[in-house]
Amino acid sequence: MWRYIGRKLFIYLLTFIVAVTINWMIPRFMPGDPVRNMLSRAAINDPEAMASMTAYYEDLFGLDEPLYQQYLNFWVSLFQGDLGISVMRYPEPVTDVIMGSVPYTLGLLLPAILLSWIVGNRFGAFAARSKALDNTVLPVGYVLTATPYMWIALLLSYTLGIVAGIFPTAGGFSYSLRPEFSWVFIYDLISHWFLPFLSMFLVALGGWAIGMRNMIIYELEADYSNYLQALGAPRRLIRRYAFRNAMLPQITGLAVQLGTIIAGSLLTEVVFNYPGLGTLILDSLENRDFFLLQGILLFVVIGVLIANFIIDIIYVLVDPRTRVQMTGGSS
């Protein structure tokens, strides 16, 4: 078990190193002079600020030092949590800018992913057991998965936001409010959160429900189900086995989907102008803020790696077979 986790950790570590290295290389090996390019595009009017920024970035890139030294420096500052200074929001450090957006993205992503997965699996399992439900869940599920995300997002924001006027369609909170811990602000936060959340939730829901339904039906047809039925085992027992076994591919599915879900959340934020990492990426691209972009990408990579690692461990805990295979050698 620990050997397995160790091996997984090693692979994740390797991925991380490669990702960081690529991240480091991009602005450095781009044609032209990206730093000057970036600064001139940042359109800073104050010449003094311009001068200090130029000095700062040239020093940071350490252009007079050998490449390996630059590379090592990059790692050292990375471990100090220093990802440089944002051009767009000079002189705020990149880490601070990112940390300001992360809560929004996580607050959107985690509930949307987990709830759609849980609710989708529930619906799917129900659909597999009752014809009436199957006839409703299945078509709705197919419609949901087949609809392009943009479509759902626009539809929701048009109907619930603009026509009905129940929910705001843009921003993380109203401009008239200051972030504070008050009911007014929390309510405002939630009402801004709702539409982006709902759109992500809905778009993922159908896929999980259909997947679960098909998996359960497959498991109910499996040889072990037939054998138990031949021995007169009650449907309850057979369903329990089928549900549990059908969960395993759904967990793997979650891991596989994670990357695309995160990409999807970037889209959501752009559509709803939600102040998370997605919007930040767009802004930093527009402003040629490579440090910020670098920092965000690094952050996303770390996030995906951590999430995958957690799912790996959960999978080991729920699938006895992987456990057996791992301990088989030592026992």
Partner: protein, 318 residues
Amino acid sequence: MTLRVNDLKVYYQTLRGDVHALDGVTFDLADGEIMGLAGESGCGKSTLGKSLIRLDSRMRHVGGTIELDDKDVPIADDDAMVPLRYNEISLIPQYAMSALNPTRKIGKMINELLRARGVRPADVTDELHRRLELVGLEPKVLNMFPIELSGGMKQRVVMVISTLLNPSLLIADEVTSALDVSTQRSVAESMVEFRDRGYIKSMIFVTHDISLVYQMADTIMVMYAGHVAEKASASTIINEPKHPYTQMLIGALPEVGSTSTAQGGRLEGIPGTPPGLLNPPTGCRFKDRCPMAFSKCSEQPPLVEIEPGHWAACWKTG
């Protein structure tokens, strides 16, 4: 225990029409009898086995009756069959290798199954261990997952599970096909041992391996394309078969009865293929391949008792 199957018809419903997999099967099984069931692939052996315990969703009971100890076996009524299953009639399926839930430890699965059938696991633990030992397994397999067992071990575990409640009738569907020769023999021997010890009363032993069945079975029934071709004592079927199909089947064997030919005893070597069962031909279903076919064979030959305990369905034997 006596099993009486009378003119049993079970069809598979498919999009292209009904597959007449059992088209009027009649036979008796006496108390303590081990009956070998042979015939080419697709002749309906597994269908017969399943029809005695549980019809799957595509199977339809079209006609005929099954009686166990003079009581009707309500095969078309799934709920009414439940009390009979496992307690009276049990099955070792053809897919025994994959018959165990892959994510449950074997012992735990057995306990859950027993409890679901109203049996306290503690009451049968000793018996379970004894029988595992009898088939050469240690009790520690109960603590393992199916993937940790070899195919032969899984086969034997399923054998023990299926017979744990001492059913009157056991249907063993090709329990030896996937095993090597020496394991085949020991599995077959333990099945006879199970009968001798009274764990089961009678057994239908489906197989392609005639020489194996000759050594362990009391009687052999040969099926062809959803019909019974011939049924008689094992020695009669091997030494004096009457039905042309049985004769060719036996003739295809090199040396019947000698232990060295267990593998050579597969059914093969009859020219042609059996008819499809979607729209089966009228008359004797063997007539296209039968060297003795004559004009009368366009009518279906009835299954008649040509001598005590020897049944055959052929115009030439009647």
